[in-house]
Symmetry: C2
Subunit: 317 residues, 2 copies
Amino acid sequence: MATIEEHRAAVESRINQWCGSLPKGELYAPMEYLLRLPAKRVRPIATLMACELMGAEADRAIDAALGIELFHNFTLMHDDIMDASPTRRGRPTVHVRWGQNLAILSGDALLVKAYQCMGADARALAVFNSCALQVCEGQELDMAFERAASITAEQYMHMIRRKTAVLLACALEVGAIIGGASPGQQQAIARFGEQLGLAFQLRDDHIDAFGDPAVSGKQRGGDLRAGKKTWLLIRGLELERACGGGTLTKAMGQMSIAREVSDMVEALIALGVRDESEALIRGMETEALAALDSVDVPAERRAPLRALAMGLMGRTS
Amino acid sequence: MATIEEHRAAVESRINQWCGSLPKGELYAPMEYLLRLPAKRVRPIATLMACELMGAEADRAIDAALGIELFHNFTLMHDDIMDASPTRRGRPTVHVRWGQNLAILSGDALLVKAYQCMGADARALAVFNSCALQVCEGQELDMAFERAASITAEQYMHMIRRKTAVLLACALEVGAIIGGASPGQQQAIARFGEQLGLAFQLRDDHIDAFGDPAVSGKQRGGDLRAGKKTWLLIRGLELERACGGGTLTKAMGQMSIAREVSDMVEALIALGVRDESEALIRGMETEALAALDSVDVPAERRAPLRALAMGLMGRTS
């Protein structure tokens, strides 16, 4: 079985080869531009690992892994239009560089390319189709929530599961199916991916608010200052609504420049949101690992995915 | 074998059923809205007929036929954004009614839905993927041509083949594959669809300029007045460029309200473009019918597709 770094190299090499095979022209240039931005490639690596988990050669799943990464980049290209994002990883977004129409069209063609790579395995396609629809549903909810006056923590979890966790689950499922997984094994690996994906997203938001800037390398509370509707803020606002408002509610009525991040962090701690978030994430991480352990393959084959998960959880043991 | 009207009823019934099965919510409402606009359903009917051409039950191809129609509607939803079209069939376009972001996202989800209906036949998927990419390429060229100072008739044909003819070919190919076509039969039916699709598009433009308004039911020269870059206008301008300009070149420099349609029609006739267009279309129609005749199945099985083609050609015999 290959290491994470070996899988990453295989993915990068396949992406390189794919970019090189694209026809010239304005329709395809934005695809290459986006695919060549530095990225962690967690999802396609997960696809390769899930294939190996089943005892098959990772290479059998390399095209499906590419398809997952192309799909992810398709969502980035279109989400950036919808969110009117000017930059991605410090570079102009596709719609800024090539115009909105080409960003729509090149994204459409990228989705087709993703299908082209996915192949014609009926079970893999069924998972991929269902995932793709849920990702669209998640983005729709995300946009609706931005306009909504108040949403509940439960609604947020429903959205974020579709928008982000489902694709990690799909990446793993597709790899496992190609590797020869039984329906039971497929279900267990899907559960692993979904819980891990949710935990990763929530952990990321948790660290933004409560992490040590020296460790995370990011300024603390960027999300809070921007008023970004993370689980933390939504849960905090939900709790404040029950008692007629508070620090967070007031902060949301202010311009971002006027928001006092340290007050907001203190309010979240006082409301018990930090502890609740920590417990929630831990619970999901535990469930993810339990789901992985329930995949009935020799334990040593589960080790690489366990290591990947631990890395995403920021744990060493 | 069923009549065109029976196939149309089957397609409408399947679309109805599909619309009824959609989840509630803003992501899916635009799909139903667009699918329920009155339409001729030529492509899905062609899919069913191509399946029957191979001696199989049309019903085997009904989901693929739906997939073709969903794909067509996906292109309409996104093209309307790119072309900033306010209305479609007299009703507000999706982006006007629901906003641009939802039109992008609902279109994306509609493309996924099209794939869901297409199933997992490797040959059918390969044809569909290739077609979908070519349609995107055609739309890209179409947008580029709108900005271009001058394009050639050859470039135009290259674009229109991708943007419109390829999808009719795909609709037929997919139906034939599901019906059990050999690669040779598939190739012949694809040729039939491509030539028929091209001829139909060119005939439509031809009638706009030279048809009898009493027969066509449309005011003559609407495309010419709008300066729409049809094959006729592009070929006329190309011929005028060779002799340093002329009536059409001058007309294109004017506001549409100032354009004299009758002068433009006369100029096209004087340049020989009417005769050239007529010969071009006739040639394609002849080639389409010859391609259909070359599909080695009993002649009586070809009759319905021949009738469909004759109808699209505006011929009775």
